[in-house]
Structure formats: structure tokens, C-alpha cells
Amino acid sequence: MAEKIDLQEIEVWDGNYAAAQAMRQAQIDVVAAYPITPSTPIVEGYASFMADGYIDGEFVMVESEHAAMSGCVAASAAGGRVATATSSQGFALMVEVLYQASGMRLPIVLNVANRALAAPLNVRGDHSDMYLGRDSGWVQIDAFNAQEVYDMNLCAFRVGEHQDIRLPVMVHQDGFVTSHTAQNVRPLSDDDAYNFIGKYKPVDDLLDFSRPVTHGAQTEEDWHFEHKARQHKALMDARPVIESVFAEFEKVSGRKYKRVESYMTEDAEVIIVALGTTVESARVAAKQLRDEEGIKAGVVGPRVIRPFPFDAIRDALEHCKAIGAMDRSCPGGALGMLFNEVSAAVYATSDRPLVTNYIYGLGGRDLAIVDIKTIFRELKANADTGKITTPIQQFVGLRGPKLGFFETRGGK
């Protein structure tokens, strides 16, 4: 029987250690893992807990991330609670198996310390890997700091293992800025955390010898569409489940989470939509601009990226005038993901705010508060003139001549 750890009311943890602690408290049956920067300390920390007698489960050291996720799929199909962690190239190598996990409806939890994708090789944080996973059928939850990494891990098991959902869940954090920055974290006790997550209830587990079952069957044109539709329905149905899990989490922790986190948006004219640590930076910039220049600035941070909170985003943005959608991933010949999806959401409103796209922070490039203020001022100019005054897509924080694409036609 695993030993418990008496945690302090306030611990000083970085995002990786917060994830490892939450995984320990979840009493996972199997972790199959392959290390990669900057997520390595998650599974390293977990392995240390195991070596020190704090974990009863199995730790499988595999030969690649493809094998890591494959091991997780097998262990989950066998009937265990399963989790792992990865980043960047490792995430990319997992992608094939990510689709297997969601299609097979296996509630694996994957911690992703977000990092750029090569080439050029880069270990720093951006959202390329997070974006790469966005069609994989997983629930994707984004943590903006170490406390949220811990909290979202506990919630992730609850959401994924919910009997109506049964889907895998990613918990994202920014590589290094969150994963390696020690912050104050208020954890739950081991008992409270485990009681919140609950005992794992296997479904169609391979180890139930009274009911032999085939996982991973092949379907062609006669069955595939129906299975994918049912899978998508489950992912869309995760929206109210996530909300109820967040509500229950508030009862045990006092911390309130929503599918879309809004900051000073009630009366905001201009709003930045961003992910990860940029949400916190943008909040600082918005507050300063309100105090210093009277610009009614607000910030919207999607807590849940998949299922995309089309409804909640629309509610948060429909009464503002100009929106800056911030994408920290090279968009590969298109406008950024947040721009496209935020635009689609506000297109379904009567006021249709102006939306522009900012590409920033690739490969860990810092985005300072002054840069965000400049963006807010550009949005303010759009709001005041009633039309987009800049290229629709701009790169910010980039050396060299200004880089932007597409001009507005007419008013909108």
C-alpha cells in the first residue's frame, strides 16, 4: 500500500511538479512514458514517487512516445487508470496513437508541456504541439499557471472517466514559463484529491474474462461514419460535464473555473483572446490600460480548447467592438486557429465585432506587457473607426520589416 504525503497548505511547485503530484494523488494504475523537454520532470517526479513508495501502480519505460501512448492505450483498454506526459516532437510522434485513444474511447490523461515544433529545433514554449492535437478527438484543457496545472489534472480524470464521455483528456501548460517556474500552489490533501477523482470504473475492460471483448476493430464505409459521429457527440457533450466537474471542484477547493475565463469583459470595447501564460500577461496589460489610458480592455482565455467553447466564447465576446485573436503557433499558410474559430463564433452574433489575428511568441519569444498594450491600442483604433486599420494577420515581436497579410474590404 502506497505511503501518503502530508502536503503543506501552500507548496512551492512548478507546473511539472504540480502535474506529478496530481498524478500521484490520482492513484494511476499504469504510466507508460518517454521523457522529452520540457515535460520530463513530470514523469521523472512521478517515477521518484514510485521509487520512494508513494505509488502502487506500474511505470513502463518505453522506447519512444509512440510506444508510450500505445502502452497507455493498451493499459486503458485493459481496464486501468492511465496517464502520461509529453511535449513537442514527442507529442508529434504520439499523434497517430492519440486518434486511436479517442476513437477507442479510452480516458487517458496526457500532460503536455507545450513546446515549439522543429525545424528549426527548439525546446522553448509555444503552442504548436497543442494545435497539432486539436483534431485528435481529445478533450483539451489549458492551464495558465502551476496551480491550474494541478487543479486541471484532478478535473481531467473526472471529465474523461465520466461514463457519458469516456474520452482522453490533455492538460496543457506553457513549456518553461509554467512548467519550470516555481509558484505558490495550494494542493488538496491526498485523501481529498482522491475522493474528488474517485475510484476508477473500468468499461469493457480486456481483463474481464467473463466478457471477452475486441478493442480497435476495423470499420469501413458501412460503420465508420456512425462511430465517428458518436465519438464527436460524446466530445460535444463533454461541455456540461466539464462545467459540473468544475462546480464540484469549486466545492472542495474554493477555486472557480469556467470553460472560458473572462477578465474585465463586462464593459470591454476591446478584448484579447489568448491561451496559456499570455492570458495572465494580457490581464496585467488590460488593467494598466484601463487605469492609465481609460481603454476599456478585457481578456478572454479559453480554458477548454476542445470541445471548442463556441457558445461560451460567443457569450463572452458578442458585446465588444474589436477582438485580437492571439495565436502562438505558426499558422502554416492560413490565419491562426483562434482567429478562425473566434471569428466563426462572433459571426453568429448580431453585432459582429472586428477580429484581427496576431501571431506571436514562436519558439519561446517573449511577449512583453508593452507589446500587448500596443495590440490593445490597435484594437482600440479598430473599434473607434469601425473598421480594421491594420493587416488582418500580423506577426508581433518579430525582427525585420513588418509582416502581415490580408486587408479589410469595406467596413468589416
Binding site: 469493457d204 467473463s210 471483448v213 475486441t214 476493430a217 470499420t219 456512425e226
Partner: protein, 148 residues
Amino acid sequence: MSNVLSNEKRGMRELGAEKKVGWDEVTQGVVLHSFEDDATDVAMRKAEDRNYAEFSSYTATVASWRVIKPVYNRDICIDCQNCWVWCPDSSIISRDKQILGIDYDHCKGCGVCVEVCPTNPKSLLMFGEALSSDDAIAQWPVKEKKEK
């Protein structure tokens, strides 16, 4: 043992001819259960005594995939079980180490059983799908003499 060669659930439908249901009725995660009821002791039961589920391959037939078929000649067979061991589709039916015949619902006509049969003449030979087993037996070859 009467129902061993033509079990009523075996091959009861063409593969792919299952009842098609909507997206709200398909199994979660494309999971397929092999048996309808508790299968704890299934390993101790013969195939004909197992309650195979609708989506088990046991209840489907793929006989239409075959263009030539193996025919079994009981009079020559020595029950060595070679064909039973080597058949890739478990389509040689044997009970108590005695070969009974071929599961034509699942045999795909690959001919491996004929290749591995050690008797002279062979106890299994390939014939056209349309030829009846009686006609096939009637034209069975005689023992070949060893070449000097």
C-alpha cells in the same frame, strides 16, 4: 456431436450483412463483445456450445470469398492433426483428435491443409467450389509409387 459440422449459429449471415443501426446505437469505442452471456468457462466449451454474439466472426460466413475448396477424404486420413494445426482460420474441425471435416463457413480455400497433409494419396485435395464432395471423392487419385 451431431451439430458440430453445421452448427446453426455458425455462419448464419454473410459478413457485412449485419443489421445496420444509427450512430446513437453503435457500441462505444467500436467495442465488440464475443459472447452474449457470461463467458468465464468458455475455454472449456466446444465452439458449438458457446453463445457467440452477433458480431463474432463465428456467426458470419465468408464462404463467398472462396473459389476452390478443400475436400476431406476420411478413408485415407490418419488423424495426424497436421491440417488442424496449420489451418490459419481454424477451419479444420477435430474432436478427440479425430478429424471430422471442414468449416466451409470460414475456410477461404488457401490450400495449406493440402500442402501439410502427409498421406499418400493426400487426405485433403482442392477442387472447384461447384463440385460436390461425393463427386470429388469419386475422382480421388490412387497411391503414387515411389520413384526409384
